[in-house]
């Protein structure tokens, strides 16, 4: 037998369209907002996540990756002198002004690393090589920021804090959480661009020796070094994410928008499923008169909700995937790992089934004697 729930649902195509629109709207809004949140979080810590380091040594009071205070590079030798260290590298992260060829200026985030090892350097290179940064006054930027920085081709020269900088490579999708594009360069160039004195660094990246637990090395370094803090890679990534997403309010705004999507979705779905139930209330009364239990009728209504959820989810995820794809070329990254897609399926089902509870409550109160009226 054709499902009564399915027939009730598809009988009124206009109402079905309204229901599905509500679900799709909610699914897209929630997915994109959560994807944006996830994208922001991943972008905020992308360099840490791709650094290959086990530990980060930062100046005491450090709040996030992008705002590391400089400290003496003598700490580097102290770190290298500690047992259990496979390697340790200086690392610069500093704000600077980039002067475009057309005279305009943009703020950039200078990332200075050792191009001999490539540790903490750029990834997803589409043009040039990390080793090209061994040459003086060379930089690598991301393709996304070419227009913003006025870079039209490889080899083009710009100025960073009045120092010449020649573009020798491009990356793809190496975004910055802030409005300041990342500019990768050698540690020595970075010192010039950032106007740091020669004996200063912002971070020390550390790799523990094979077989040594980074947490053990972290404790050893923390007790050995003064005026600095030592983080594991994941600790520092989390610290940076939390700072940018919650201390600045950016993440809260995104989560509120996602919550609004959920509320709007529930309200629209509840309203339309309720209206459908009211339309068929006499039929539900007839079912009751025929001997159907409340549970039987609940199953019909919940089945309607599940069918609506399944179709709305499929359509909503389709739209969301388009948004995700479009975002890959934009300034803001929208991420949608498979775990989020699965979570959204659960959320959509819960949303629709929760919304149908109002209708279930209504049906519970049906007086089956209504079937004799008119």
């Amino acid at each position: 037998m054709a499902s009564l729930a399915r027939r009730n649902l598809f009988h009124d195509r206009v109402r079905l369209a309204v229901t599905l629109t509500g679900i799709v709207f909610a699914v897209v809004l929630i997915t994109v907002q959560l994807g944006l949140f996830l994208g922001f979080a991943m972008t905020a810590s992308n360099i840490i996540d791709n650094s290959g380091a086990d530990l980060w040594v930062a100046a005491r009071g450090n709040r996030n990756f992008d705002q590391g205070a400089p400290f003496s590079e003598r700490k580097l030798y102290q770190v290298r002198g500690a047992g259990g260290v496979a390697w340790a590298e200086k690392y610069i992260v500093q704000f600077a002004r980039l002067k475009r060829s057309d005279g305009g200026e943009e703020g950039v985030g200078i990332i200075g690393f050792n191009p001999e090892t490539g540790i903490g350097g750029p990834w997803h290179l589409t043009a040039g090589k990390v080793s090209d940064l061994k040459a003086a006054d060379t930089i690598i930027i991301d393709e996304i920021y070419r227009e913003k920085l006025g870079i039209t081709s490889l080899g083009q020269a710009v100025e960073i804090n009045n120092h010449r900088a020649r573009v020798v490579g491009f990356t793809r999708n190496v975004r910055s959480f802030t409005t300041n594009p990342r500019v990768f360069t050698s540690f020595k160039n970075a010192q010039n661009y950032a106007r740091l004195s020669e004996d200063q660094t912002n971070y020390i990246l550390v790799k523990s020796a094979a077989g040594l637990d980074p947490l053990v090395l972290k404790q050893a370094l923390a007790s050995r070094l003064e005026d600095v803090e030592v983080y594991t890679n994941s600790e520092f990534a989390r610290k940076t994410q939390v700072y940018w997403l919650f201390s600045t309010g950016a993440g809260v705004g995104i989560l509120v928008a996602a919550l609004m999507g959920l509320i709007v979705g529930v309200v629209v779905v509840a309203q339309t499923i309720y209206a459908t139930t009211i339309d068929h209330i006499r039929e539900f009364g007839t079912l009751k008169a025929m001997g159907a239990s409340n549970a039987y009728i609940y199953r019909v209504i919940i089945k309607q909700a599940i069918i609506s959820a399944a179709i709305g989810y499929a359509l909503g995820m389709g739209v969301s995937l388009v948004v995700v794809r479009m975002s890959s070329n934009g300034g803001a990254s929208v991420q949608m790992p498979w775990q989020m897609a699965v979570m959204m399926l659960g959320l959509t089902l819960s949303m629709c089934m929760g919304a149908s509870m109002i209708s279930v409550n209504k049906v519970t109160r049906i007086d089956p004697a209504m079937v004799f009226k008119g």
Binding site: M1, A2, L4, R7, N8, F10, H11, R282, E283, T286, L287, K288, A289, M290, G291, A292, S293, Y296, P368, A369, V371, F372, G374
Partner: protein, 256 residues
Amino acid sequence: MEAAISVRSLTKVYSAGASAVRALDGVDLDVKSGEIVLLMGPSGSGKTTLLSIMGCILQASSGSVRVRGREVVGLTEKALPAIRLDHIGFIFQGFNLFPTLTAGENVEVALDLKGVRGKEARRRAASLLEQVGLAEKYGSFPADLSGGQKQRIAIARALAGEPDIILADEPTAALDSHSGRLIMEILRDLAHGQGRAVVIVTHDNRILDYADHKAYIEDGKLAAPVDPENRKPEEVMAASMPLSLLSAGDRTRPVA
């Protein structure tokens, strides 16, 4: 023979704030298997209330209703659907078919409630439609059927649960005389041919001849007048004889 439905001292009071309306007042009635009983009376007399209570979809205020010997007054709301499912088939004036389902699927819903599904449900639904002469309408939607056909589908649906009691509310009121007769022939076969108890609430004088017994309700009380001049019952009803003038011995349908 044990009554299919036995009603004793049945009272139904509808409360509305401080006021109360006594819809049924001490009704006694027996309906036996294999007979057709017509419930007649003016609008608002309590016919449908009585039918609803006999059908276990409305709770009585007091009294007794036994369905196949089982007392149903006082049963919980959860217990009543099972009584309806096992013993009672309803036929409604407005047919109450599911408009989004085909004729066959309407019958299959009733079978589904009894746990009959799949091919067996389709086979039995087809058989039931054949019984009411509509085998070829299995795939038709109610909107494409005439009133008489809809009511025959409703009868097939009511029979799907194999009930021993059929309760019909104005089953011919919305039909032309030909369709009405067809419906009554089917109902008569259900009673006389298949041994089911059939109770029909009606205002339709055209079906009086199908009745084995007629019961008249007015102001919530059962009173079936004997007509000394051999007038038809509806003529007696039309004469609006005050029920207070009827003695207990005047009732044509004494309780068993």
